[in-house]
């Protein structure tokens, strides 16, 4: 196991190297540059800008320069938000996205697994059908519909909650409710469906049958045997989901006006803000590969049948 963990940790290095290298060159291939706008800039102004950001140098040289900077933790200046460095922008946005993502995913996982268990145990009864219908709605209705609808109902009509804002304002934690609910909904649906399916699978497996035949109570069977076995697909889903929920909250961050990194991620790509895109790609993929790594390690603990060599 220890050997496996070390090997996996080491493999993060080439993975990140490839992601950084590929992304660096990919974003330069994309049409359009950071300094184009509805009003075109005169030639000399463009030249000055390129020179200022060393973008007049050969691409490979720029790459080496960038890579060197990244190694010492300097992601460079943002080309769009000219008074901020990429480090600052990420440091400001990342915690907010993490807060929102964690709350939403915790909500989704807890509710999802509960509903999944209920559905599986009451398979093909009304509880099952209504729970699964809710799940289908959760997956089918996109965030950009759920968000505005919740906003309309709870903020505009009922006036229970603020339209937008973030927790560090006077409205405080109230501002977290709508965005977290919106963001959690599809993940809840996914997890509920997934856990229902895998619980059904496990319920039929031999070891659960054995456990039952030993006369263990239903509660113990579910807690000790069913849940543990059924968690696997959920865990392997949660890894990328947690990474995805951070940048995937673009829509929610925009609708509820939350200063996270999801919104900047899309904006930076659309603005061709090269250093900012790279910074976000690095942070995001580092987060993602770490999550996937943790998931793989968790596997070993959750499932005795897995033996890593």
């Amino acid at each position: 196991m220890a050997k496996y963990i070390i090997r996996r940790l080491l493999s993060l290095i080439p993975t990140m190297f490839i992601i950084i290298t590929l992304s660096f060159f990919l974003i330069r291939v994309a049409p359009g540059g950071p300094f184009s706008g509805e009003k075109g800039l005169p030639e000399q102004v463009q030249q000055n800008l390129l020179k200022k950001y060393h973008m007049d140098e050969p691409l490979f040289r720029q790459y080496l320069r960038y890579f060197g900077d990244v190694l010492i933790g300097n992601f460079g200046p943002s080309l769009r938000y000219k008074e901020s460095s990429v480090n600052e922008l990420i440091a400001q946005g990342f915690p907010n996205s993490i807060i929102l993502g964690t709350v939403a995913l915790a909500l989704a996982t807890f509710a999802g697994i509960c509903v999944g268990i209920l559905s599986a145990l009451k398979q093909n009864r009304w509880q099952d059908y209504s729970a699964m219908s809710l799940a289908v709605i959760g997956i089918s209705v996109p965030l950009f519909v759920i968000g505005p609808v919740l906003q309309l109902v709870f903020a505009m009509n009922l006036k229970w909650l603020p339209v937008s804002g973030w927790i560090f304002s006077r409205a405080g934690l109230k501002t977290l409710i709508l965005p977290a609910l919106t963001l959690a909904f599809p993940y809840f649906a996914y997890i509920a469906r997934l856990s229902r399916a895998s619980i059904l699978e496990v319920l039929r497996s031999d070891y659960v049958r054995t456990a039952r035949s030993k006369g263990l109570s239903e509660g113990i069977v579910i807690r000790r045997h069913v849940l543990k076995g059924a968690l696997l697909p959920i865990v392997s889903y949660l890894g990328p989901a947690f990474a995805g929920i951070i940048t995937g909250s673009i829509v929610v961050e925009s609708i509820f006006f939350i200063p996270g990194i999801g919104k900047i991620f899309v904006q930076s790509a659309l603005n061709r803000d090269y250093p900012l895109i790279m910074g976000e790609v690095i942070v995001y993929s580092l987060f993602l590969v770490t999550m996937n790594f943790l998931v793989d390690v968790l596997y070993g603990f959750l499932d005795p049948r897995i033996a890593y060599k």
Binding site: A30, P31, G32, G33, F35, S36, G37, E38, K39, G40, L41, P42, E43, Q44, V45, Q47, N48, L49, K51, K52, Y53, P77, Y81, K82, E83, S84, E88, L89, Q92, G93, I99, A106, P148, Q151, L152, A155, M156, K159, P162, V163, S164, W166, I167, F168, S169, R170, G172, L173, L176, S254, I255, F256, F257, P259, K263, I264, L270, N271, R272
Partner: protein, 514 residues
């Protein structure tokens, strides 16, 4: 979970904010460094923080005395001298002197700064272009601090609009001491020095900017609103919801999808803008290289219905390129006339649209551009019997295709003037101009525009009109569709001193609660 909750609550308690008198929804994250400002959102905030030699008049947006109490133009119009008021100070109490303007000019023109709006002073000030290109030294740039209270500009040609121009952010002073001390961080709260009616109290990037009245401002007794919060959210629906809920007092910019509701509100403000929305032809491409085809396409669009039923936001349907301006008669291209359009198309060799190649209209993804393109597609089908396809793309790809590769036949385009003069529109179509995406080229046109620079008054306007007529009436170089309108939501029965203006600039300084 409980711990986390507690942490949130503690943080929320620590960050308590004072009440704001006035809240604005700005539509984008601003830049606070005048040298680097490029968009309206930044200017909106900047007008509160800084003040140029001239300031924008709250009604006309022409120049009104700011840091300068008066100015003088030499008889040949090539030298403009400003006399600064002695009471103008930075927020740390030091005087705003002529040197600050020279420093700011040097900074914006310096190639190493990479300022986008450097082109504006470069256009009018002698030697500025050369310095910005790295070909000349700053000592040759036509700006001079004669003494602490006198600054003199030498221009490339007589530019009657120059004094008004100095209200623009590209001409604002910059505090040398702060810039040199803090570098790029000089605009952060605590570091920044401002000379305008407001101070920067707080700046939460991607969230809001908080301004507070500047007690050291020379005209501070006339500044009524004590503090202003400016949100950066770019989500139109959210902004509108906040406005409706009373969380915002002034909202700039309105989404097309809400216009039917907003139009009936009493706090909905529109004003004509110096700018034109148009369809750009690549005049080097078949079949739109034929002026008859261009005219046929132009004559086949009912722009009035377009504005009434599709865009609905107070835009003014037009056949002209230059918006109405004092002393100038905008020339007209061909107007809506389906019969004439059919004839022109037949004359060009496509009777009834027969054999007309399938053209593509390209536009950048946006609900408004899309609706207009769909409408025009149908108009051309109905009135000319031709089919065109539509292609949308993401903005930067679109700009690359339109402005760099010129790989289009018809593209959506728009232009908003920088100052109140026909030149801001007509310079665009000079051969090789950076924004001449349709590749129109006519040496005669270029010559007229150049000639106009040497002329003055009514004679100058006449030459410009000649050029205008050449490009539009004779050649129909593009299809003007409408003149833009500023759209804002603000209850003017509650807030005074806010007017619908042609350039869309509004000074917080003049605003007050009724």
């Amino acid at each position: 979970m409980k711990k986390a909750l507690f942490l949130f609550l503690a943080l929320a308690a620590v960050v308590s904010l004072g009440a704001q008198d006035f809240i604005m929804s700005n539509g984008a994250e601003p830049t606070l460094d005048p040298t680097l400002m490029t968009d309206v959102a930044s200017t909106n905030v900047g007008i509160g923080l800084f003040e140029g030699l001239m300031a924008y008049d709250p009604k006309t947006n022409l120049g009104t005395p700011g840091v300068a109490e008066s100015y003088k133009v030499s008889p040949d119009g090539l030298k403009v001298t400003f006399i600064l008021r002695k009471t103008a100070t930075w927020s740390d109490g030091t005087r705003v002197t002529a040197k600050d303007f020279v420093y700011a000019m040097k900074r914006i023109l310096d190639p190493a700064t990479g300022a986008e709006y450097a082109y504006m002073p470069a256009m009018v000030i002698k030697g500025a272009q050369e310095f910005n290109e790295g070909k000349g030294g700053f000592e040759d740039v036509g700006i001079k601090a004669i003494n602490d209270t006198t600054v003199e500009y030498s221009l490339t040609g007589a530019a009657p609009y120059f004094a008004d121009m100095t209200a623009h952010s590209a001409f604002w002073p910059v505090p040398q001491s702060a810039v040199e001390k803090y570098g790029t961080d000089w605009t952060k709260p605590g570091n920044i020095l401002t000379n305008g009616p407001y101070l920067l109290k707080e700046w939460k990037p991607q969230e809001y900017v908080l301004l507070e009245k500047n007690a050291k401002y020379w005209d501070q007794k006339n500044v009524k609103i004590k503090s202003i919060k400016i949100y950066a959210s770019d989500n139109d629906s959210t902004n509108y919801n906040m406005y409706k809920n009373g969380e915002v007092d002034w909202m700039h910019g309105i989404a097309l999808s809400k216009i039917d509701e907003i139009k009936l509100r009493k706090d909905y403000q529109t004003s004509a803008q110096v700018g034109t929305y148009y369809y750009c032809f690549n005049v080097t491409r078949k079949p739109v290289d034929d002026v008859r085809v261009r005219k046929a396409l132009a004559a086949a669009i009912d722009k009035k219905t377009l504005v009434d039923k599709v865009t609905k936001g107070g835009q003014i349907p037009t056949d002209s390129w230059v918006p109405p301006m004092a002393g100038y008669v905008p020339q007209k291209g061909i107007g809506f006339n389906p019969e004439e359009a059919k004839k022109l198309l037949a004359a060009a060799g496509y009777p009834g649209g027969k054999d007309f190649p399938t053209l593509t209209i390209v536009y950048n993804t946006n609900e408004g551009h899309k609706a207009i393109a769909e409408y025009i597609q149908q108009q051309w089908k109905n009135n000319l019997g031709i089919d065109v396809t539509l292609q949308n793309m993401e903005f930067k790809t679109f700009l690359d295709l339109r402005g760099k590769a010129h790989d289009f036949t018809i593209a959506r385009h728009g232009w908003i003037g920088d100052y109140l003069d026909p030149n801001t529109m007509l310079d665009l179509f000079m051969t090789g101009s950076g924004n001449n995406d349709g590749l129109y080229a006519d040496p005669e046109y270029d010559k007229l525009i150049e000639n106009a620079r040497l002329a003055k008054g009514a004679a100058r306007m006449k030459i410009l009109q000649q050029a205008d007529a050449m490009y539009l009436t004779r050649d129909q170089g593009m299809i003007p569709i409408y003149h833009y309108a500023n759209q804002d939501l603000i209850d003017t029965t509650k807030w005074g001193g806010w007017y619908a203006t042609p350039l869309g600039f509004h000074s917080f300084k003049y605003m007050f609660k009724k």
